[in-house]
């Protein structure tokens, strides 16, 4: 069983789709406030693993155990569905690659941020509004856009709104699936900067899936390299990127384009 202070304990998780091994015997521990990057090429099972961790896809075998605020560790697939859904909208966050998957596009930015608060019983409009304003500010969204629906936002703004919507409930663990994918480089840089600041400030643990090694370098403390569903190498980010041991990691690192 996991250590007392481990936040997320993953043990021998496997998931297959027919003949395809999307995740093959993955094990790791995640501590509170730690940022874990998962890198690998397309189809290496990164996203499937993330979905399993977030309780959105049930693995075929293995254990995923989450330690809640009271210090009780429990298997997320052994708990009831309402309990798991409750965790997902209070203790956890999920930032989708495509912000349209994680936002309500017809609801104003303020409503999007306030939804989680209302989900857990906030019934005072003024307070919800105030909180939404604070978060608009924190993710550097123009205050005047609080009553605009996100479909009128640019991609970078939508992504920042999605982050605010997730962080408003004060989660302890956020899953991110390619949060900077599809953004141009300058917007990407600003978003990364913002993410890094928020993560440090809020002491939130993050599992971030990316194929962009620069993103991994900037954000994550630790790195896992995946290939064909299996973890081929893991360690401190700098260690993996500067001195890759496995041949696939070496290939990955040497494939970065130099400008």
């Amino acid at each position: 069983m996991p250590d007392d202070d481990v936040l997320l304990h993953v043990e021998h998780v496997s998931k297959t789709f027919g003949e395809i091994h999307a995740c093959d015997d993955v094990s790791f521990d995640l501590w509170p406030g730690e940022v874990l990057g998962i890198v690998g090429e397309s189809g290496s099972g990164k996203t499937t693993l993330l979905k399993c961790l977030a309780g959105r896809e049930e693995p075929d075998s293995g254990l995923i155990s989450y330690t809640n605020r009271r210090g009780e560790a429990s298997d997320i697939f052994a708990m009831s569905e309402p309990e798991r859904r409750m965790l997902a909208r209070t203790d956890w966050g999920f930032v989708h690659q495509n912000p349209r998957d994680g936002l309500r596009l017809d609801i104003t930015a303020g409503g999007n941020i306030g939804e989680r608060l209302m989900m857990v019983g906030a019934r005072h409009y003024g307070n919800i509004r105030e909180e939404a304003e604070t978060w608009m500010n924190r993710v550097e969204l123009e205050f005047g856009r609080i009553d605009s629906p996100p479909r009128t936002f640019s991609g970078g703004m939508q992504q920042r709104l999605q982050i605010a919507r997730n962080l408003v409930s004060g989660p302890r663990l956020v899953f991110m699936d390619e949060p900077t994918g599809g953004l141009d480089v300058s917007v990407q840089a600003r978003l990364l900067d913002l993410l890094r600041e928020l993560v440090r400030e809020l002491q939130v643990a993050v599992v971030i899936v990316t194929h962009d090694l620069a993103v991994a370098r900037l954000l994550s403390d630790r790195l896992m390299v995946m290939r064909r569903g299996a973890v081929v190498e893991s360690g401190l980010t700098d260690q993996v990127l500067d001195d890759p041991q496995h041949e696939y990691s070496q290939l990955l690192v040497s494939s970065i384009l130099q400008v």
């Binding site: 909208r89 409503g111 939804e115 989680r116 409009y125």
Partner: protein, 311 residues
């Protein structure tokens, strides 16, 4: 077999039809669903809705519920938008007069079963009365959550935050809750329910009502209910509490200040009047001697007033 026997015996109103149109097996099925709905207040019970001799949207759900509960001694009242004499109300009343041979009335206090669309009568209902609503869209989350499977989970797990988001949006955009009809309610502190498109003015009448309230949605095949004396809470925010519509003037015909008023355009000069939407309520008040500012000759008086205002 017994059902078939009954069929010939009951067909005394209009030959060839069973009592109240539906066959006995269908009525039993619907009654079972009604019992379940009453046992779980506000929960939408699926039922095998039948083809009725009128189009969906004209009250097929309400008619099936009424047909399943009505008996020979019942007195039926049918209202549409508060009025007893609109097409929908007249047709449904005639339908049951023909197929069930029951007495009908326009007086709220005389009726034992009241089928309604868009209103709750102004006169307080009693414990020996049943109110049957015609419901077009039973799912309160329909325009917030497109997935039916997700809607079911939201109800099952009471994850109703998204309903509050809808009200938040109203305030953010217009400064107040602008939802004026089909205003969502929470029944017995559990299920969130769409009260059918009644004005929010009528919402407080559902709370702790002595009368049984049944809701039938024919196209969507759902029945739900509020048992007598059940708590019905209209959703709101602490700093934006629920309130109902008010009017600056009384009913032009009977002078009532506590009823839901319709605005009636009288000519093309801008003349208009307000009158009770509940026609039976207004008629009975006038019979009791109440008068409103326009009760003599609405058209002439209001036209004068309208022109004066315009000038």
């Amino acid at each position: 077999m017994s059902a078939r026997k009954r069929k010939t015996r009951d067909a005394d109103g209009e030959t060839g039809y069973n009592f109240a149109y539906l066959d006995e097996q269908t009525k039993r099925m619907i009654r079972r669903c009604i019992l379940k709905a009453v046992a779980v207040p506000g929960y939408q019970v699926p039922f095998g809705s039948r083809e009725m001799p009128l189009p969906y949207g004209w009250g097929t759900g309400g008619i099936q519920v009424t047909a399943s509960i009505i008996g020979r001694d019942d007195i039926l009242k049918v209202i549409d938008q508060g009025s007893d004499d609109t097409t929908n109300a007249v047709s449904i009343r005639a339908f049951f007069a023909k197929t069930a041979d029951v007495a009908t009335t326009e007086e709220t206090s005389r009726a034992s079963v009241i089928q309604t669309r868009h209103r709750i009568p102004e006169r307080k209902l009693r414990a020996d009365q049943i109110l049957v609503y015609q419901v077009p869209i039973p799912e309160p989350l329909r325009f917030l959550e497109p997935r039916e499977t997700e809607c079911r989970k939201v109800h099952a797990y009471s994850e109703y935050g998204v309903m509050q988001v809808k009200l938040y949006e109203d305030i953010a955009r217009y400064g107040r809750i602008t939802t004026a009809y089909a205003y969502p309610v929470r029944v017995d502190d559990r299920y969130i329910m769409d009260p059918s498109p009644i004005p929010k003015f009528d919402n407080p009448k559902m709370d702790n009502s002595p009368a049984l309230q049944l809701f039938g949605a024919g196209r969507e095949k759902r029945i739900y209910a509020i048992p007598p004396y059940t708590k019905v809470h209209s959703l709101d925010f602490d700093d934006h509490p629920f309130d109902v519509e008010t009017w600056e003037e009384p009913c032009g015909l009977c002078g009532a200040t506590d009823s839901f008023l319709d605005e009636i355009i009288l000519d093309d000069q801008g003349a208009r009047m307000f009158a009770c939407s509940d026609s039976s309520f207004c008629t009975s008040r006038r019979a009791e001697g109440h008068t409103g500012p326009l009760s003599e000759d609405p058209l002439a008086q209001a036209s004068e007033g309208g022109r004066a205002n315009a000038g």
